[in-house]
Symmetry: C2
Subunit: 347 residues, 2 copies
């Protein structure tokens, strides 16, 4: 019966500790246990019973079972955030903001999809089957939202193309684009180019159109040949730039705006490799203000988007919705700003 090998510590009974066990241990009903465990004891449970229950909870190591609780209440205490692009460093700051806003009452869970992909209808249904207390969806596309029937509390992030009927927190990238155009106009540029992203994300369209519009309004010209596009990839952007630069140069382009800093890194790199002077010969700027932009050589001028704030505001809105409150503002728009660095400004 007692084999020779070292007796190991008896594993604490694998059995899940239930409210019923706590109730028995404390000599009360499970209703009382529930009240105490959920912090609803004030004025509903006698001090002595409360103490007994707390003691029993500690002794047995009881934790309220999320599944049972969710079933009884109709919703879980989970907030699910659907995230299409986890590889973007920008996204980490958004998450940090959401976590900050949500605090510890709700459990934040991320559902990630493959880069740039949105969750399938099937995935979405499964997520809803988890009965989240709230849903946060970053950069959704319109068709995705149609599938999301009966969603309960829902806040969209970075979803500029949606109507005002669904709560959203957006970034005013158009404003940032204008700031950038103004900066280039002020520093004397007459002909500018634009290196776009090819993923068809709405924000890319907004960035481009706002920049082109503002540029023209400010009297700068965008030569026909001066529009290019690649996926969000340093190497491909470098390649594309090396292919189009001769034409741009011939057309008199002296500045280029890029849909993302990543694109801009490609240009910086290619310029360095081939001896194009930045910003002397070509001024370069991007969007996103990624961490590396502060430290590249030259530093990259970039439209800064407040990621942490985006997450925080979205979390706050969702919190209100989950509390059953009305939103005073359905649509929150956050200002962007321009970080001017060496890539557009001679030292």
């Amino acid at each position: 019966m007692h084999p020779t090998h070292k007796p190991r510590a008896i594993p604490p009974s694998r059995r899940r500790v239930t409210a019923a066990m706590v109730a028995e241990h404390a000599g009360v009903s499970t209703a009382t246990v529930s009240l105490v465990a959920n912090g609803k004891a004030i004025g509903r449970v006698s001090a002595s019973n409360e103490a007994k229950v707390r003691e029993a909870i500690r002794e047995l190591g009881y934790v309220v079972d999320g599944i049972g609780s969710s079933l009884a209440r109709g919703v879980s205490n989970t907030v699910i955030m659907v995230a299409p692009d986890i590889s973007n460093p920008f996204f980490a700051t958004v998450i940090a903001g959401v976590r900050f806003a949500l605090g510890s009452e709700y459990q934040l869970l991320l559902s990630v999809t493959d880069a740039g992909q949105l969750p399938s209808a099937d995935d979405t249904r499964k997520l809803l089957g988890l009965r989240p207390a709230g849903l946060l969806v970053d950069a959704p596309d319109p068709s995705f939202l149609e599938e999301l029937s009966a969603p309960g509390p829902l806040v969209l992030l970075d979803a500029p193309e949606f109507g005002s009927d669904v709560p959203a927190v957006n970034l005013d990238v158009a404003q940032g684009a204008r700031l950038l155009a103004e900066h280039l106009a002020e520093t004397g540029h007459k002909k500018v180019a634009y290196l776009d992203g090819t993923t068809g994300t709405t924000t890319f369209e907004v960035r481009r159109e706002a920049f082109l519009l503002a540029s023209r309004e400010l009297g700068m010209e965008v030569p026909e040949c001066a529009l290019a596009a690649t996926t969000v990839n340093v190497a491909l952007a470098a390649e594309e730039f090396s292919a189009v630069w001769p034409r741009w140069k011939k057309a008199g382009v002296t500045a280029v705006a890029c849909a993302t800093d990543t694109h801009a890194y490609g240009i910086l790199q290619e310029a360095r490799a081939t001896g194009i002077s930045i910003p002397g010969e070509l001024a370069v700027a991007g969007f996103d203000d990624l961490p590396y932009s502060r430290t590249s050589a030259p530093g990259l001028t970039s439209v800064h988007l407040p990621g942490e704030l985006l997450g925080r505001r979205a979390g706050e809105q969702l919190l209100r919705l989950m509390a059953g409150e009305e939103l005073e503002t359905q649509q929150v728009v956050l200002q962007s700003s321009l970080m001017v660095r060496g890539s557009t400004l001679e030292a």
Copy 2:
């Protein structure tokens, strides 16, 4: 009763569609509905009943409720991955691998913590309260694991310091460190430096110790002054390098290995700014082989770690565990490789 404003499409009854509703609609019991809905009908439900149920499911838009199902079964079909560092681009590739391995049977959910932080004991308990079918924990620290009592299927990723009693998939960073040392020795370096990370992650220790050991074995010297450390941050690494470089130079150091590519970017940047020739005057290399390393100027020599494979193998192991199978190999170790680029090799 019928106000003048446009009547909108009647919202599909907000009531959740339950198995009972489907059962009634199809004229069968909920047991039959459950069998069909879960694909367990073969040989247990008559073809005609199955057809009726399927039709009812479609008509009513029934989806099995995850919460009810989880409660009845004891576990959910959710796999939770605990991720301490979502801002690392490397991590996105790991996730992709996990998703690939897991397929569509399980729902992957990420629980992220603030950069470098591990989930609190409290958070962990809440996660367990979701009754995940399996748990994946990336880069845990030992104390975290102790709290994880009765975890069910669990696979660790990148957790070199754990014993062989808990299933894990690890990266052989030590091997990569040796490859790097060999490369530097072969290219003629006699004195090398190391720029470490300060977060105290185990993998950083392994990288450093393996590199230093191999370097010495290969006859290279690591001068006392040639060890520095900063957090994982380009700007801080640049600053630190600018502070220590004079001493390193005086000591005869001609090559530096960095705990991460991010550190190395800082050195590249500072070197460019101050005119230190890379690799002529100083060869530079890092770990992680981040996307930018391929395209920096010069390209950064780096120890490549197979992130996608790491995720995939971990997912596969977890799948086996969740299926109740024994693991033939508890500990999987993945080889790293050295990507040699311009930062250590004159063109």
